[in-house]
């Protein structure tokens, strides 16, 4: 289990993250929402050990993140950054296969996993294409397949951190991608996902952390967090909360 206690990060004198306490539960999708600059990516960076924290601790299975060997950690914790700088013409299947680098499960098993991960990310038809020939959204799905492959098949004790995995996707793939993430979590992995779309968060997240100015403003189930009052306070946006006619989760409409 990944647990953060009283996390604080300062950058050049300014506090960009303060007082965050959270534990990622197995099988749960935790959404992080907040306006630009609220500290969402900073939180993700601190949770995966990429950023130095000024206070607080991040532990994976009660052991400080820094004490894990790189390979051991990579088998348990995968991270999807907002964008990638890959500028070499790898075939898609090879990009996804890089997710298997921390493992030594053998060529045959790795190939099966690459296939399964590509299917999960609805990128199967891209497998032979050159990465450089893909659109932004297709690249995003390929990288999702890569981090899924890194943890495949996903089980209790594994952690997946996603930074805006739907930012470049068309409406259909926003849903298929988050559904794939949900399905992955249902195998036991804990997922943290940064999102901008309130309605996607309402539909696919079990809990939501609402950040403002680096501090948690609200933390709880979608029903608790996605209410007019906290959303106005954090985003400065006047909204109406309806119910999804079929699914019953909150539906957020700007006034």
């Amino acid at each position: 289990m990944l647990r953060a206690q009283d996390l604080s990060v300062r950058r050049g004198g300014a506090t960009v993250l303060e007082g965050v306490d959270l534990a990622l539960q197995p099988g749960e999708v935790l959404g992080v929402l907040g306006p630009n600059g609220a500290g969402k990516s900073t939180l993700l960076g601190a949770l995966c050990g990429e950023l130095e924290t000024d206070a607080g601790s991040v532990t994976l299975d009660e052991r400080a993140l820094g004490q894990w060997s790189g390979q051991e950690r990579a088998r348990r914790l995968a991270v999807l950054p907002q964008s990638s700088t890959l500028s070499f013409a790898f075939p898609v299947a090879e990009v996804v296969a890089m997710g298997r680098l921390p493992h030594d499960t053998g060529r045959v098993r790795d190939a099966e996993i690459v296939d399964a991960a590509l299917r999960a990310a609805d990128a199967e038809h891209l497998r032979g294409r050159s990465y450089l020939a893909l659109s932004g959204g297709e690249r995003q799905r390929v990288h999702l397949a890569r981090v899924l492959a890194q943890l495949w098949p996903g089980g209790e004790g594994q952690v997946l951190l996603l930074d805006e995995p739907t930012s470049a996707l068309d409406p259909l793939h926003q849903h298929t991608t988050l559904q794939a993430v949900r399905d992955f979590a249902s195998q036991g992995a804990a997922v943290l996902v940064i999102l901008h779309d309130l309605n996607l968060a309402a539909r696919y997240c079990d809990r939501i952390l609402l950040l403002q100015g680096g501090r948690p403003h609200a933390f709880g189930s979608p029903d608790e967090v996605l209410q007019a009052e906290p959303l106005r306070a954090v985003f400065g946006l006047d909204v109406l909360i309806q119910r999804h006619p079929e699914r019953g989760h909150p539906l957020i409409v700007a006034r």
Partner: protein, 332 residues
């Protein structure tokens, strides 16, 4: 690719101001390796081969290998297919070291002739290492190496080294100027076993070490944090890549002068042929780099025979247009 290298090596042994029949070359080479072959009529071939051609071809082989492999390492480190081993300042530093040895030597009334070639090599090698170390130091901040800063520091220090070389050029007399100029153009001429051994060792080290880092290089192409998330110790790998390049290019430049474009063009060309996967790219570049350098050296010693062109001119003449072609094709 392996066949091409064998062929290039064979031709490079056989052809020259005195061309040997290909068959004799093979027989004499086998005899040199200690195989019991009838030596009748092969004495001359054996002499030329053992004393002149073999060290020269081996030198070419090593220089081609380290330049090409360092090119792959730097293009991986900077995640840029247009990176060149010279970017971290090693070539500029080596040139400065050589200029100090050549001009400084003549100013104190000439180095002892027996030591001169070694001093030149040692100065060039240390110059390359020192400048690379300084560049690497500039890139370090808070325990991390920023490759963009390193690249810019490399540009600045290469310019400073260039100024240093310019200063020594200005101070040099005519004869020294000539040897400095020729050194800057690179040549496999004057290869001898004592000068070959250090380079051979470094080449062996680099050629064994870098392929062990092929997966890490692949991961590095995704980005540094992605490579970290995949479990690699990125800071260590960056240091290893810089170290391999500094040692490899430093030793190559010390032994054969400045030979451009191999480190840039070979990895690029091989990437077009075999793809960007370093597990294939590194061995392919090793073979191609060695082949290309041997063939370039053949051109260098054959076009004006018995005189000889500096090999740097040949590689630049082949490499630069090819580079432009890549730019125009838009694959770069």
């Amino acid at each position: 690719m392996g066949v091409l290298l064998l062929l290039a090596f064979w031709l490079s042994l056989a052809l020259g101001p005195v061309s040997l029949p290909l068959g004799d070359t093979l027989l004499a080479a086998l005899r040199l390796m200690g195989l019991p072959i009838d030596g009748e009529g092969l004495q001359q071939a054996e002499l030329i081969l053992g004393q002149i051609r073999l060290p020269r071809s081996l030198l070419g082989l090593c220089v081609g290998i380290v330049l090409a492999l360092s090119g792959v390492a730097m293009q991986g480190l900077f995640r840029n297919p247009l990176a060149d081993p010279g970017l971290v300042g090693v070539a500029g530093g080596a040139a400065l070291g050589a200029a100090i040895a050549i001009v400084g030597g003549s100013m104190i009334g000439g180095l002892p002739p027996a030591l001169a070639p070694y001093l030149l090599s040692i100065c060039a090698f240390s110059g390359g290492l020192i400048v690379t170390a300084v560049v690497y130091r500039f890139g370090r901040r808070d325990g991390q190496t920023n490759v963009a800063t390193m690249l810019l520091a490399g540009v600045a220090l290469t310019a400073m080294s260039g100024a240093g070389v310019g200063l020594f050029t200005y101070l040099a007399d005519d004869a020294t100027l000539r040897s400095l100029t020729f050194w800057n153009l690179g040549s496999l001429n004057g290869a001898s076993y004592p000068r070959l051994w250090p380079l051979l060792l470094v080449t062996l080290g680099v050629a064994i070490w870098l392929p062990r880092r092929a997966s890490a290089l692949n991961a590095l192409l995704l980005g540094e944090s992605e490579a970290r998330h995949l479990g690699f110790n990125v800071e260590r790998i960056k240091l290893e890549l810089v170290l391999c390049t500094a040692l490899g290019v430093g030793a190559a430049v010390a032994a054969a002068g400045l030979i451009g474009f191999i480190g840039l063009v070979v990895p690029h060309l091989m990437r077009l042929l075999v793809g960007p996967d370093h597990r294939v790219l590194l061995p392919a570049s090793l073979l191609a780099g060695a082949s290309l350098l041997l063939l370039a050296d053949l051109v260098a010693r054959l076009v004006l025979a018995p005189a000889e062109l500096p090999i740097g001119i040949v590689t630049a003449l082949i490499g630069a247009p090819f580079f432009l072609y890549l730019l125009v094709r838009g694959r770069a």
